[in-house]
């Protein structure tokens, strides 16, 4: 049954019904669910088709590039599985890997001003070149054989535009279908979106801006968002190109104010840069730009991370974040409540959403969907189902039918703690995946840590001073509260890798709480918190426009030693059986060598399980390549056992994903080591490549 036929017969299908449509999935769980809050549903919500006025940018599917010689998209392909069929490097020979070249971008944090620096960059490889961006959006092409620079294009992004940190996760590559002259300028192009909200297309061979794209190669992205200031709206993730439509979201620095720029997601023609559609959840009937004098809906949830796409279906899958103010929800619109922190499938030929699946109801925890979902042919008893796997910061991993959004495994709604400052707003239940979760049991007093009994005791006192009733403990103002997992996951933007051949999902994750408290407006003022719109700059999280600001201690660091109050491990890596969701192996990830109290490296070579950000990749050679940990190492692990088979010390923090590609018959591994402000690893500008020694 196709989506079209479902949508015509029952425009608003709740999960009990959608589950029943799939005979292999028991619907009993959905039927036993407790009362849902208004406007909520425990699964996919299929949208009412909008009859009138779909723009007719509809195009047939284009040829899709695969991994192998190339690494044509940020997540390998737009399916986001981070899998390469290359098998020259194997579990047998990976120990012989040696560094073959180094390229330095030259884009390093300025010395004369304080700019947060978290490049998070993953290059692409197409043809003979690697294409990448620097944290200030300089696009660079590098020869895959030698690491020599071919060209660079500097869009002159000002440091004022840097949001939470200077980051550019990657660029996108597009070949114009059936060009009159395949050698013409911009027949092949590299497209990026910038921190200062521009969509830029340059020629892949020369780096020259594409004259026919927008205005001289640029499209402004900050128009019609309403009032903004530099650093508020920024794009840090690569665009996703589906059927010739460049789909772009943007981050809006959260917790500044209720009245914030819109989270609208837009599709642009990859050839001309023309706006094809705008998906504004406050104005579902809007076809393109809002009328003169109006804006896209302010303060709506945005997509700051990377989308995935199905070229055949013509769907782009948007992992949405939360509304502009994360920790207070009573002011949100019905549409925000229905769509925030959802995975939304948008038909790029119409710009309309076809289904969405919400991973938190009435989110007041900043549980944005951070990871790129992965598209797989999911093995079931009745053959494979085109599926999408999405992981959340809470650690839940959901498997959904990607045509309809129906969960392939039951989604349970469980009672969660209530109360807090807006008890009527909170949802009494939250969804939990029965397929797999990366989350652990709630923490207890005995899980408190430190160097000595004294700092451990202080963490224990803090534990009891806070409200904590397990996952989804609501925000409180009269006392601190513990949020576990914290907003760094579970899974964040690093995302999972899936080896469909072996049937294994690889997920690295964080296991860290946050220690938070809502602040009254008086306290916000006393603490000197200022919104980004204030002339004196952006201080703290004032949440202007709602009754409370928010004080977040990410990782719940001890105010004495700066160590995390919870005992290690702080991060792990896990292999999961794709078909069943069962854990194959799971281990703490990362050594203590570069971490210690007061920020002093301990040099301890023991595995402790560090916080980690940046994704894994998997290869047909049976290997996982991953950096991510705060020990500045890159590793190769055996996908079957998790055993470490190779490592190298990076010259800076490795908070990004590596890639693998083939050039002239040789398999390479490449990784950008740029460091990470939030992870407190050293900054750098190094692109390194490794290969087996030539015989």
């Amino acid at each position: 049954m196709t989506f079209q036929s479902i949508s015509k017969t029952c425009p608003m299908v709740l999960v009990g019904m959608t589950l029943a449509l799939v005979s292999s999935v028991p619907s009993s769980i959905a039927q036993q669910l407790p009362q849902q809050p208004e406007g909520q549903s425990p699964g996919a919500v299929i949208s009412e088709p909008v009859e009138d006025g779909a723009p007719s940018a509809a195009q047939a599917p284009l040829a899709t590039a695969e991994t192998g010689d190339a690494w044509p998209a940020y997540g390998g392909t737009y399916h986001g599985t981070r899998y390469s069929p290359l098998d020259q490097i194997t579990t047998e020979n990976v120990a012989n890997l040696e560094r073959v070249w180094e390229f330095r971008t030259g884009d390093l944090p300025p010395e004369d001003q304080d700019v947060a620096w978290s490049p998070e960059t993953t290059p692409l490889k197409v043809g003979d070149d690697l294409f990448m961006c620097t944290p200030t959006n300089v696009m660079i092409a590098v020869d895959a054989r030698t690491g020599r620079e071919e060209w660079r294009y500097d869009p002159q992004v000002s440091y004022d535009a840097v949001p939470h940190a200077a980051a550019c996760r990657g660029v996108a590559y597009f070949e114009v279908p059936n060009p009159e002259d395949p050698d013409a300028l911009c027949a092949n192009r590299v497209i990026e979106a910038t921190l200062d909200a521009r969509l830029i297309a340059v020629d892949a061979r020369t780096g020259q801006p594409c004259p026919e794209f927008g205005r001289s190669g640029e499209v402004p992205l900050d128009e019609h968002l309403g009032r903004t200031v530099p650093g508020w709206v920024a794009v840090t993730s690569p665009p996703t190109i589906v059927r010739g439509i460049v789909v772009v979201g943007h981050q809006v620095n959260d917790n500044e104010a209720l009245d914030a720029p819109s989270g609208v997601v837009r599709g642009y023609d990859a050839v001309t840069g023309e706006l094809a559609w705008a998906w504004d959840l406050g104005q579902p009937d809007l076809e393109g730009e809002p009328p003169e004098g109006e804006t896209y809906t302010r303060g709506t949830p945005n997509m700051w991370t990377t989308a995935a796409a199905d070229e055949e279906l013509g769907y782009v899958y948007l992992p949405l974040g939360n509304s502009a103010v994360d920790y207070y929800g009573s002011e949100r619109s019905e549409a925000e409540n229905a769509y925030a922190t959802s995975l939304v499938a948008v038909d790029v030929t119409t710009g309309e959403d076809v289904w969405h699946f919400q991973t938190v109801y009435h989110d007041v925890w900043d549980y944005d969907l951070g990871s790129q979902p992965a598209l797989v042919d999911f093995p079931t008893e009745d053959g494979t189902v085109p599926a999408i796997i999405v992981s959340s910061k809470q650690g839940d991993i959901y498997v959904l039918n990607r045509e309809t959004g129906e969960p392939l495994f039951p989604v349970e709604e469980r009672q969660v703690p209530g109360g807090g400052v807006e008890p009527d707003y909170l949802s009494p239940v939250q969804p939990f995946s029965t397929y797999h979760t990366l989350a652990f049991e709630p923490i207890e007093e005995r899980d408190m840590w430190g160097m000595t009994p004294i700092d451990q005791l202080w963490c224990r006192i803090q534990f009891h001073l806070a409200r904590y009733d397990g996952m989804y403990t609501p925000p409180t103002a009269d006392q601190p509260y513990i949020q576990y997992p914290g907003y760094n996951g579970g899974q964040d933007w690093g995302s999972m890798a899936v080896d469909e051949e072996r049937g294994i999902i690889v997920a690295n994750y964080n296991d860290i709480p946050n220690y938070n408290r809502l602040l009254t407006r008086e306290e916000v003022e006393e603490q000197g918190m200022l919104p980004i719109t204030h002339p004196e700059g952006d201080e703290g999280d004032p949440q202007v426009g709602v009754p409370y600001g928010i004080e977040v201690n990410p990782g719940w660091r001890s105010d004495v030693t700066n160590l995390i109050c919870k005992q290690p491990p702080y991060g792990g890596i896990r292999a999961i059986d794709l078909e069943t969701g069962e854990t194959i192996w799971d281990q703490p990830f990362g050594s203590a060598r570069a971490n210690g109290p007061f920020g002093i490296p301990s040099r301890l070579p023991f595995t402790i399980g560090t916080p980690n950000n940046g994704g894994p990749i998997v290869t047909a050679g049976g290997l996982i390549f991953i950096a991510a940990t705060t020990d500045n190492l890159i590793r190769a692990l055996d996908i079957e056992t998790g055993e470490e088979l190779w490592r190298d010390v990076l010259p800076a923090g490795g908070q990004a994903a590596p890639i693998t590609f083939e050039q002239d018959g040789r398999q390479y591994l490449a990784m950008f080591a740029g460091g990470h402000g939030f992870m407190e690893t050293p900054p750098g500008d190094y692109l390194w490549a490794w290969a087996l020694p030539e015989e």
């Binding site: 840590w449 160097m451 004294i454 005791l457 009891h464 005992q567």
Partner: protein, 129 residues
Amino acid sequence: MSAVPHEQTARQMLSPGYIAALVLAVLLLAAGAVIFLGGIWLLALGGSFYYAVAGAGVLATGGLLMARSILAVWVYALTYVFTLIWALWEVGLDGWAQVPRLVGPTIVLALVLLCIPVLRSKRAEGRTQ
């Protein structure tokens, strides 16, 4: 009796070993006070009783060291054994979890044992006075 014992005492008081023991005593009094008072607070919040008890043990050790009493060693040994049993009960053989529980107290144990040569037993005190 002659002034000889007093002269000996004065010499002992200036010996590096005795000064070191005094420094340790002061540190243990300070740490013990923090752990004891924090432990009472934790207990009042419904948390573990360990810190209040161990804090009292460390405080007593500090006081006895100050008085140059060999009892300091016995009181600390008792505190340490209590710590060991509690730590194993609470988190078992998890190495990283034992770092805050056992590393510091073990170092203190070694330091207290090193003080033995400058400490006096009750009987010895009787003889010198």
